[in-house]
């Protein structure tokens, strides 16, 4: 099944939260597509709206506290038009989600088996026995050594890595087309992180699912993703294949991020530091390039007034024009940090 048909189309989505009676955009004008059989990574600093995007797709926001506009086209259905019951047909069945904190994401008072089979109760017509078998099967699939025992245990009796595997099992129980993994490995050790990522990749190839992998760890992205979208302050600033992003990053933000990573080759140097802070929601400017304040040496005229995405090579898009002549101050040697 080698289709690359995009089954998820996110078009111009805005999500705004109500804070003290006013709505503020947490993500704005997001356009994204996800294909079968690929891992799309979304990277960005804390607070840039990665989780918001994920939960917007899942429809997990309280409608009285949020305002969402745009269109999320999932296999021909606009998810944003669905009511609660309609959404429930997709959640768990067609879209699975994996959360960051594996301990709190599981109901502490229910056995693992019940938590996994619950999702099947609502989306399949399996008998109790079949469900039981499927649970064991799933646990095995996510790499749990002793599925029988684990199925009978409670979350607190499992290690972090095991819990995360259970959550993955829940997410894939109904063979969804789309899996959203929101920082699935942040709370885990590197060795376990690697294992979990392996599991994710295996599942993706077996189920031909599309995976949205949210993370702020560039290493994880580089190792796992097929395509990458870089977010900054609620917007996507650059999008492209892993190679494009890591080998020929364009946007100043992407480049800054990569430069600030401790790497083999900058062992004894100072790391690059992005000036300033990510603005808080309320202080986010509506117009202009949101990253501009953090690269003050770039002249205003190099930025677009209303930055848009520019496709610079097939599949590689960058927001704003400032990337064109961008260079770091120490490389220019003229601008003082």
């Amino acid at each position: 099944m080698e289709t690359t048909s995009d089954f998820l189309n996110i078009k111009d989505v805005n999500t705004a939260f109500k804070i003290n009676g006013k709505y503020y955009d947490a993500i704005s004008h997001i356009n994204l597509t996800v294909h079968h059989d690929e891992i799309l990574a979304i990277v960005g600093e804390s607070g840039c709206g990665k989780s918001t995007l994920a939960t917007t797709i899942m429809g997990l926001h309280d409608p009285s506290e949020t305002k969402i506009s745009g269109e999320i086209d999932f296999e021909g259905t606009n998810l944003l038009k669905l009511d609660e019951a309609g959404y429930n047909k997709f959640r768990g069945a067609k879209i699975g989600m994996i959360f960051q904190d594996p301990l709190s994401a599981l109901n502490p008072l229910k056995r693992i088996e019940d938590q996994i089979s619950e999702v099947m109760t609502y989306h399949t017509k399996l008998t109790a026995e079949q469900k039981h078998d499927r649970v064991l099967e799933l646990l095995k699939e996510v790499g749990i050594v002793d599925p029988k025992r684990t199925a009978h245990q409670f979350p607190h009796q499992l290690s972090g890595g095991m819990r995360q595997r259970v959550i993955i099992a829940i997410a894939i129980a109904c063979k969804p087309d789309l899996i959203i993994a929101d920082e699935p490995t942040t709370a885990l050790d590197v060795t376990i992180q690697a294992q979990i990522l392996d599991v994710l990749r295996k599942i993706q190839s077996e189920n031909h699912a599309g995976i949205i992998l949210i993370t702020h760890d560039l290493g994880v992205v580089a190792e796992t993703a097929d395509r990458v979208a870089v977010m900054y302050a609620g917007q996507i600033v650059e999008e492209g294949s892993v190679e494009q992003i890591f080998n020929t990053p364009k946007h100043p933000y992407t480049r800054s991020l990569l430069r600030s990573m401790p790497q083999r080759d900058n062992q004894n140097d100072d790391l690059y530091v992005i000036q300033g802070n990510v603005p808080s929601l309320q202080k986010m400017s509506k117009i202009g390039d949101r990253f501009a304040p953090r690269i003050p040496w770039v002249k205003p005229e190099e930025h677009e007034e209303n930055p848009t995405m520019h496709e610079i090579e097939p599949g590689h898009e960058v927001r704003c024009t400032c990337y064109k002549n961008f260079s770091f101050p120490d490389q220019v040697g003229s601008v003082k940090a």
Binding site: E223, S256, M261, L271, N277
Partner: protein
């Protein structure tokens, strides 16, 4: 003489149970580790979660009650409270914590937070103290108007720098940094790491740098110890550890670090799986019957590995051959 010499340090937490609530067992959080921290260097302590890194760090600053072993500083064992007092140990050894928010008292203004050690160790006049705090803020790159603000009004990186300012306030010789950047975003992490290096250069401070991020450790540390289940499995220089790992655990840890080089990611992955495979197969060889790591055996002047004697000797021989 090293700045701090840790010898056979053990920290066991008792588990009480049974009818009389007696100690029936213990969590061996730290189970006999030894290493030395030299003046002016950054010593890295790496290991997975729960391996006892923090416990070691806390023992060194004196926050933890030690089961056995010694920590020598200026020729005195500072695991004894009297010696700590006598040496003004806490004046010389400070700590930076992982969670910057929780390590700063949310009800205190920055001025009071930074001045706290000053008030305890140096008896300055009000103006002197204020000046000192302002200077410290300046050094860590914060504006003076931070003086009367509360911790929650700062970003993570700024807060971590406040933590550093407090730690350097008494001009310490050693700072224990327990995962100082794990909670921070990349860009902020860079800021703090740079800054810690700068301070070290300027004040000649030593760090015991605790982290599970091998990338960061490689960036920061000259000497590194790998910890596993309360014991050290390998210590050596940066080069020893990253380029010539010997212990299977170290190898596995290194292999699991995600690489940013997209182009050879397949290769990296294959390598990791291979190491993983070896680890599964050979695990028993590297641990004794109880699953404990063996005592460290030097295989070069800077490099020691927890191996059974014979194996170590073999390796030493091999190395010798390679060199020859």
């Amino acid at each position: 003489m090293s700045l701090v010499e840790i010898k056979n340090l053990k920290v066991h937490y008792p588990i009480r149970s049974g009818f009389w609530n007696r100690i029936t067992d213990s969590v061996k959080a730290v189970d006999g580790i030894s290493f030395n921290i030299e003046a002016g260097e950054t010593y890295g302590l790496v290991g997975e979660s729960g391996s006892g890194k923090s416990t070691t760090g806390k023992s060194v600053v004196g926050l933890e009650k030690i089961t056995s072993g010694s920590i020598m500083y200026q020729g005195k064992d500072i695991t004894k409270k009297i010696n700590r007092k006598e040496l003004d140990y806490n004046h010389d050894v400070q700590m930076i914590f992982q969670d910057s928010l929780s390590s700063l008292n949310p009800r205190k203004r920055i001025e009071d937070i930074i001045a706290e050690p000053l008030r305890n160790f140096e008896h300055l006049s009000k103006d002197e103290e204020k000046l000192r705090v302002l200077q410290l803020l300046d050094i860590v790159g914060l504006d003076p108007d931070a003086l009367y603000k509360y911790p929650h009004q700062f970003s993570g990186g700024q807060r971590q720098r406040i933590g550093v300012a407090r730690a350097v306030a008494t001009n310490p010789k050693l700072i224990i940094a327990d995962e100082p950047v794990s909670a921070l975003d990349l860009s902020v992490q860079a800021q703090v790491l740079n800054f810690m290096k700068k301070i070290q250069r300027e004040f000649g401070i030593s760090y015991l740098f605790i982290s599970h991020d091998l990338g960061v450790v490689r960036h920061m540390c000259n000497n590194i110890a790998i910890m596993n289940r309360g014991r050290l499995v390998e210590i050596g220089t940066r080069d020893d550890i990253y380029n010539h790992p010997v212990h299977i655990y170290t190898k596995r840890l290194l292999a699991a670090i995600p690489e940013t080089s997209v182009n050879n990611r397949q290769q990296h992955r294959a390598n990791r799986l291979a190491v993983e495979e070896v680890y599964r197969e050979q695990q028993d060889k590297y641990y004794d019957k109880d699953g404990k790591a063996f005592p460290l055996v030097p295989i070069s002047p800077t490099h020691s590995v927890a191996l059974p004697k014979e194996v170590a000797n073999k390796i030493i021989k091999q190395e010798g051959e390679v060199k020859a």
